[in-house]
């Protein structure tokens, strides 16, 4: 049965009507018009739908809305503060770490999650953590370079 869920997204409160098993991804995209979070596979295999829940990467396509009610959710739209890009966003721009960029939101959110929990990851640790995110255009080396750069640049605290 549909129910009301209170969601805290990018510091803003929303109330949505949804089936309890509705995916967070579908709520973000269809009800809240937060389309920066992408659909890529629906089985948690590509990472395009990655968002942060309490600062940690979650695949929103497999996250039932009922499980994140009241928790702090961050999407790609909520990462920049005012006009200032998050260091990971800036590093992706600086390294040209994108082609079609459809995977970029998910890559950035995963990278932010990694750096939230590990301040100076090695390349091997970056690769290990990002293994669940697919880039079909083949920008992997640039993405690793961008994360390395953001890791060096982003000592300040971020969500």
């Amino acid at each position: 049965m549909p129910a009301k869920y209170a969601l805290l997204i990018n510091g803003q409160s929303f109330s949505v009507d949804a089936e309890p098993d509705a995916s967070l991804l579908s709520i973000l995209r269809e009800q809240l018009d937060l389309t920066g979070t992408k659909y890529g596979c629906g089985e948690g295999q590509c990472g395009a739908c990655t968002v942060l829940v309490e600062g940690r990467a979650h695949r929103s396509c497999l996250t039932p809305v009922s499980t994140v009610s009241g928790k702090s959710i961050t999407t790609i739209e909520g990462l920049a503060k005012d006009d200032r890009l998050h260091p990971v966003q800036q590093a992706f721009l600086d390294e040209g770490a994108m082609q079609c960029a459809y995977c970029t939101s998910g890559m950035i959110m995963s990278a932010v999650s990694l750096l939230n929990n590990k301040h100076n990851p090695s390349d091997a640790e970056i690769i290990q953590f990002m293994q669940g995110n697919i880039c079909r255009c083949g920008t992997h080396p640039r993405i690793v370079a961008a994360i390395r750069k953001a890791s060096a640049a982003g000592k300040e605290s971020h969500p």
Binding site: E19, A22, S26, R29, E30, D33, L34, T35, G36, T37, K38, Y39, G40, C41, G42, E43, Q45, C46, A48, T75, I76, E77, L79, A80, L85, Q89, Q90, F92, L93, D94, G96, M98, Q99, C100, A101, Y102, C103, T104, S105, I108, I126, I127, Q128, M130, Q131, N133, I134, C135, R136, C137, G138, T139, H140, P141, R142, I143, V144
Partner: protein, 724 residues
């Protein structure tokens, strides 16, 4: 001789570029630019026949205005100095929005960010056959440079008239026309104020030579990169309009199945759900994607299926199911000299067969379309490499004149040759017509893996004969099904027979990055390695011995030098090379692999690709494309293959179909050869072709196992090796 023909082939769309359109046909039944853009200068570039593709039936019907029939590009400078260029090319991640803007900015002497590029909107841009075949840089980049140069000269003429001076004395810089003698200057916006000038492109207009480029030729970041890292950019699947429904198609259990019956009662009872059954098309639309999925799942449909081959019997099937001779085309065969006498007298002869599996594009953004009817006017936003092709498909499917259909292509989540057709557009439009509301259809990953089309599978047979001094004397090459792209050899061989054999494909197949060039280069470059091994010659030296083309020699030689080809190898390490000429670009890829004998682990240690595509427009963008093509090439080389049986795809998810991930990517290097003296050509495709043969040859060097099938992993695994 070979080169000349290959050049011509580069201008013609490959058979597969236009193959396998959406087959749905339903049973039922002067752009005013100044009004749109305001005053200013409007420059039109009339297409030259030699510069573009030949018409291939349908599509170009833009005779509804007074403009010339053949137009490639146009550009407008408004009275606020804003510059808007229009092109039918589309952005799918190859970064042409940036590289084309660089070309315009260069010729107009304006900052890059002053340019707006309108791309792929069939109502606003000139006809374009599509974004494929690496044609954007050699053709559209040049056209936009020409219109920009013409606009610059029109501005100079305006200033010259205003100041009563000889236009030859004036110059353009920083968005202004300058008179160096009187020190007068006028901005573009001052000059065009109140003007309404339409200028046809003059036949000859001097362009700035690449050696003098200031904006073109530089590494500049993606012009709208910030919109992508903030999630602001709207891809086709992100589009939304008021009152919109979500569509879901009820798919048959197998390809070509016929719908016998459908119980749609339950779905029809659901609130605000529309059900459409039209021929074999069965679909629903609902206010949310969840409800659409639920409604579709509630439908009980009965289908009639036909038995179909599986991938287990694929290569036999391809050999046995050639199209009859009367359906073949002469240009699918090439012959020079006479191979037979050489083969019968040669002591050094080799015959090998190579197999290529079907692979999937798997663009991360699946096919998506949003369709909206306004009376009998249809507007569709969709991700496609052929907006005008999709317009034609829609016009045909709905029995509409093309003027009633507008297709818009927002910058899309990749294509790789996989988004030439309008399947999702037709589905969304069909649903929207019945629902009388806009409908968006976004394919699921399973749908994308099943109902899109694939890179053709193929069987390639090569026979060769070599003189005792290492010169190839005869070359016979037969390609079954995979295609003609790159099937001609660029090696200097006096006797050749090269033939393409069309086959009734068991799967829907079509274009893919590089088309059949990957398959043909794989077979040819592995065969070259086989000959070299049989002669105990160095594979690079053997290639150079049989190669006259200077640009191709250069990528092999300079790439080999940079790679360290001649340096003594480490124990259990092997080198491999593969290269060629494709889509006007010259490429050689070098690979080093290592083997751990105790475990059988094979590791790709590094990859280097040398590439020459003429004058480089954006070095960083080119490097990004080249490495990207190399990484994409790894997948098809090592592990990607479409598994199918009886009309359905078995590995239809990312959990079943492996694509290259972070751990699969070895260190990669690009060696760019910048030929400022030569025209710029495309780079999205050619760098993919050398990867597979270079890997196969490097693995042979270290294991002595000859890999003649793509992908290579299954055979290696069966021999006790693992590839990492």
């Amino acid at each position: 001789m070979t080169r000349k023909v290959d050049f011509a082939a580069g201008l013609e769309p490959e058979r597969y570029e236009l193959h396998s359109p959406s087959s749905v046909i339903f049973e039922t039944g002067r752009r005013d630019f100044f009004k749109f853009l305001g005053a200013g200068i409007f420059v039109v570039c009339a297409a030259s026949k030699a510069a573009g593709f030949q018409e291939s039936g349908g599509g170009r019907r833009n005779g509804e205005d007074n403009l010339p029939q053949e137009i490639d590009a146009w550009l407008h400078i408004g009275d606020k100095g804003e510059i808007t260029a229009f092109t039918g090319k589309v952005e799918v991640g190859q970064n042409i929005r940036t590289s084309l803007s660089q070309a315009i900015a260069e010729e107009l002497h304006v900052p890059l960010n002053s340019i707006q590029l309108i791309m792929g909107d069939t109502q606003l841009v000139p006809f374009d056959m599509g974004t494929f075949g690496s044609r954007t840089t050699p053709v559209m980049n040049l056209q936009l440079r020409r219109v920009s140069a013409a606009a610059r000269d029109a501005l100079i003429a305006l200033a010259a008239k205003q100041w009563s001076v000889d236009p030859a004395l004036l110059s353009a810089a920083d968005g202004k026309i300058l008179d160096p003698r009187s020190k007068r200057s006028a901005t573009y916006s001052e000059l065009v104020k109140g003007q309404q000038i339409t200028q046809l492109l003059p036949a000859e207009d001097p362009l700035i030579p690449a050696a003098q480029w200031k904006i073109a030729g530089q590494s500049v970041p993606k012009v709208d990169g910030r919109d992508f890292v903030t999630g602001k950019h709207r891809y086709p699947s992100d589009y939304k309009v008021p009152d919109m429904l979500y569509g879901k198609v009820v798919r048959p259990p197998s390809f070509g199945a016929t719908l016998l019956s459908a119980d749609t009662h339950e779905a029809e009872q659901m609130p605000s759900v529309t059900v459409v059954r039209d021929g074999n098309f069965l679909a629903v639309a609902a206010p949310s994607s969840a409800l659409a999925a639920k409604a579709a799942a509630s439908i009980h449909a009965e289908w009639k299926s036909e038995p179909q081959p599986s991938n287990k019997e694929l290569f036999d099937y391809l050999k046995k199911n050639q199209l009859p001779p009367e359906e073949r085309n002469d240009n699918l065969r090439y012959e020079t000299g006479n191979v037979e006498p050489v083969f019968s007298s040669s002591v050094h002869r080799l015959n090998s067969t190579y197999n290529i599996n079907y692979i999937a594009h798997a663009p991360l953004e699946p096919r998506a379309a949003l369709a909206q009817w306004n009376g009998d006017q249809l507007t569709v936003w969709t991700g496609t490499q052929r907006p005008f092709g999709v317009r034609s498909e829609l016009a045909t499917a709905f029995h509409l004149p093309e003027e009633k259909v507008r297709v818009l292509m927002p910058d899309t989540g990749s294509g790789y040759g996989g988004k030439h057709t309008g399947d999702a557009a037709i589905e969304a439009a069909r649903l929207a017509r019945t629902a009388k509301r806009p409908v968006k259809v976004v394919w699921t990953r399973e749908e994308e893996f099943t109902w899109a089309y694939f890179r053709p599978a193929g069987v390639i047979e090569i026979s060769s004969a070599v003189d005792h001094d290492g010169k190839i004397a005869a070359w016979e090459f037969h390609n079954y099904n995979s295609g003609t792209a790159g099937f001609r050899t660029y090696y200097d061989i006096p006797n050749q027979r090269i033939e393409f054999h069309p086959v009734k494909s068991p799967l829907r197949q079509g274009s893919y990055r590089g088309l059949a060039a990957t398959a043909n280069h794989f077979a040819r470059e592995v065969h070259m390695d086989e000959i070299a091994a049989s002669l105990q010659m160095d594979p690079l030296e053997f290639r150079l011995k049989n190669l006259k083309d200077q640009r191709l020699r250069a990528v092999f030689e300079e790439g080999g030098k940079q790679f360290g080809w001649n340096k003594p190898g480490t124990a259990n390490h092997g080198f491999g090379v593969g290269g060629g000429y494709e889509k006007l670009g010259y490429v050689a890829t070098f690979v080093e692999v290592s083997l751990t004998p105790a475990t059988g682990d094979i590791k790709i240690e590094r990859v280097l690709t040398a590439f020459d595509c003429g004058a480089i427009v954006n070095p960083d963008g080119l490097r990004n494309q080249l490495i990207g093509a190399n990484i994409m090439g790894l997948g098809g080389a090592i592990f990607e293959a479409v598994e199918f049986e009886n009309g359905h795809i078995v590995n239809n998810l990312f959990s079943k179909y492996r694509v290259p991930r972070f751990r699969d990517v070895p260190p990669m290097e690009a060696l760019l050869i910048d030929r400022k003296d030569l025209p710029s050509v495309g780079a999205g495709e050619a760098p993919i072709v050398g990867v597979a043969p270079a890997i196969a040859n490097a693995i042979f060097a270290v294991t002595r196992i000859r890999l003649r099938t793509l992908p290579m992993a299954p055979l290696l695994v069966s021999q006790g090796f693992q590839l990492s």
